[in-house]
Structures are given as structure tokens and as C-alpha cells.
Assembly symmetry: C2
Homo-oligomer: 153 residues x 2
DNA sequence: AATGTTTGTTAGGTTAACCGAAAAATTTAA
DNA sequence: TTAAATTTTTCGGTTAACCTAACAAACATT
């Protein structure tokens, strides 16, 4: 239906605003700039664009908020982010690296693949007991060997 | 040491040249253009750039080839691509979608995460027998239930 | 070898997303 | 409540990667 494709950059801004708004009630240009590591003029410019697109509410020199549409997209991106981080942590990556990858992958992955990864995370989380294969996998990473392949004694 | 970061676009061009060269001995501007879905002038422009960077050999109106450096990068990207496709197929994605995701993710994923995914693919491929958990996972995707969680009879 | 077709390059243009410097608005504080 | 400090915007630039239209080179055919 309403599946307009936004740039990585647009998604990053919306996600940033969403994230900042969870902690501070007034989101300012400078908050977004420092969060994203950009300079204020870039933020002003992007806010103008997002505002025209109906994704944020922002008047000159005022505070920033997400419109319902902006919020919906921010939540979608943020949810991809969380799934990706969980997935990578499952594989035993540090959270730090997991975050770096998630921030990139979240913008390019298809919905179908995203769903699969989400299912995988759920599959593991909802398993009745901690899955053995994950332990075996981690063992394989260290040693290059399958635990099942016992050498003859 | 020599870990210069190239744009997704540069990586795509190198990968395309590498791919085309596996089938045809003479890689031309138009081959690259149609492979990538770009117009010839864009290709000419990029070839100039890649040539200056020492990644391809190309003289006006001539054929294109990868330098050793270009080849190394092309192979790295292509190998990421293959690992990603294998991984996604493991999760039961169609090859078509797997390809789409791989083409995007290959440019943004960190080396560490790439290695983990590669290990996962190897872990499954080299398992002594087809891993049960993968069947269970696919069952979980369909039904939302863990096969182990048997209901009381 | 002249000519027409195909292919590749040049030239000029667009868009997205960043930047720094300077100007303007807002906020703080004397 | 005015002046100073801070924040935000405006303005003008830059870069990467695409494009179209026009031109030039290469190729293929007779």
C-alpha cells in the first residue's frame, strides 16, 4: 500500500529523533546533529525535507517531533535494528559490533529476509531449553570442529 | 594495512567486471552498463575513476580488465556475496531474494560479522548429518511452534 | 576504402547529502 | 532589559553518482 522507499539517511534521521525523544521531551536540531555526527546545517536542511514530506513537525527555531507517519517509519526501522542486533548477538558477536552492522543492514535488508531473521531470533528465544546447536556452533568457531564428530578413542 | 574503504558503487563495478570476465574474455563498457543497469556514460566516468585509483586497466575505447588490486577487492566482495547468499538460503529464503539482499548487505557488513556468517554456513555444510534444528526452525516458521514442545496426548 | 551502424566518450545537468562561514533568532544572565 | 552567549538557519560550496544529448571513434559491410 504505502511502501514508499526512503533513503538510508532519511531513515537514520527518523530513527534518531525517535531515539532521542524517548529520553528528552524536547528534541532539538543540535541533539540530532550530535547523535548522528553531523553538523547543524545538515540537520536543518533535512528537517525541512522531512517536514515537507510530512514525516516530522518542525517550525524554524522550534523543537522537532515525529508525525504519525514519521513515527511509524521510525518504529519500523528501529525494530529492524533490534532484530538485527539480537540476531548478531545470538551468533556471539559483541554488542558493539552488532550495533555497527545493524545500523547499516537495517536500511538495505528486504522485509522477507528481515522476517526470517526475526523468526530465527524468536525460535531460539522461545526454545524450551537452550539450544545445543548454538553451543556446538560456538565450539566450531573456536576449533573448526563439530563436537559430534568424535574421534575414535 | 591496506584497508581503504570503497563506496558501494565502486565495489559493484569491480564485482561486475569480475563477474563478466568469467564468461567473456573482452569486457566492454556496454557489458558493464547493462549488467549494472546503468547508462554507458556513467560507466565511462567510473572507469576513469577506477583507472586513476589503479583498480582497473582501461584506455579510451578499449576493453576493461581488473588490476591485481582491483581483482583482490572484486574477489573479496564476491566472496561476501556468496556467503550471504548461502546463509540466506540456509534460512530457507529463495535464491532470488537472497541475491537481492546479498547485493546490498555485502557492501555494508563488517568483516567480523561476515566471518561469523561464513562460519555458520560452514558449520551447517560440514555437519556430519543434516542438522535437526534447521528442520525445527522451518517448522517454527510455518506453525510458530517448537516441535519439541509436544502437547500432552 | 567509403559508408552506415554501433559503441564509447564528452559536455553539461541533476540530485542527495554533506560541509563551513556568516547572519539571525533565541536563550541566558547581569 | 539589554547585552552576551548559544543555537539555528541561510547561503554558497563540494562530492559522488547518476542522467541525456551530442559528438567521435571503432566496426562491419559492401
Amino acid at each position: 500500500m504505502d511502501k514508499k522507499k526512503f533513503s538510508s539517511s532519511v531513515e537514520d534521521y527518523l530513527e534518531a529523533i525517535y531515539f532521542i525523544a524517548k529520553k528528552k521531551d524536547r528534541v532539538k536540531t543540535s541533539d540530532i546533529a550530535s547523535f548522528l555526527g553531523h553538523k547543524p546545517p545538515s540537520v536543518t536542511e533535512m528537517l525541512e525535507k522531512l517536514s515537507k514530506e510530512g514525516l516530522v513537525k518542525h517550525k524554524k527555531y522550534g523543537i522537532v517531533s515525529l508525525t504519525p507517519r514519521g513515527m511509524r517509519i521510525a518504529k519500523e526501522v528501529s525494530s529492524k535494528h533490534m532484530v538485527l542486533v539480537s540476531f548478531l548477538e545470538l551468533l556471539g558477536m559483541d554488542r558493539r559490533i552488532a550495533e555497527i552492522d545493524a545500523c547499516k543492514i537495517e536500511h538495505v535488508v528486504t522485509r522477507k529476509t528481515m522476517n526470517r531473521l526475526k523468526k530465527l531470533v524468536e525460535f531460539v528465544q522461545r526454545a524450551p531449553k537452550k539450544p545445543e546447536w548454538l553451543e556446538h556452533y560456538k565450539h566450531f568457531i573456536k576449533t573448526g570442529e563439530h563436537p559430534e564428530c568424535k574421534k575414535k578413542a
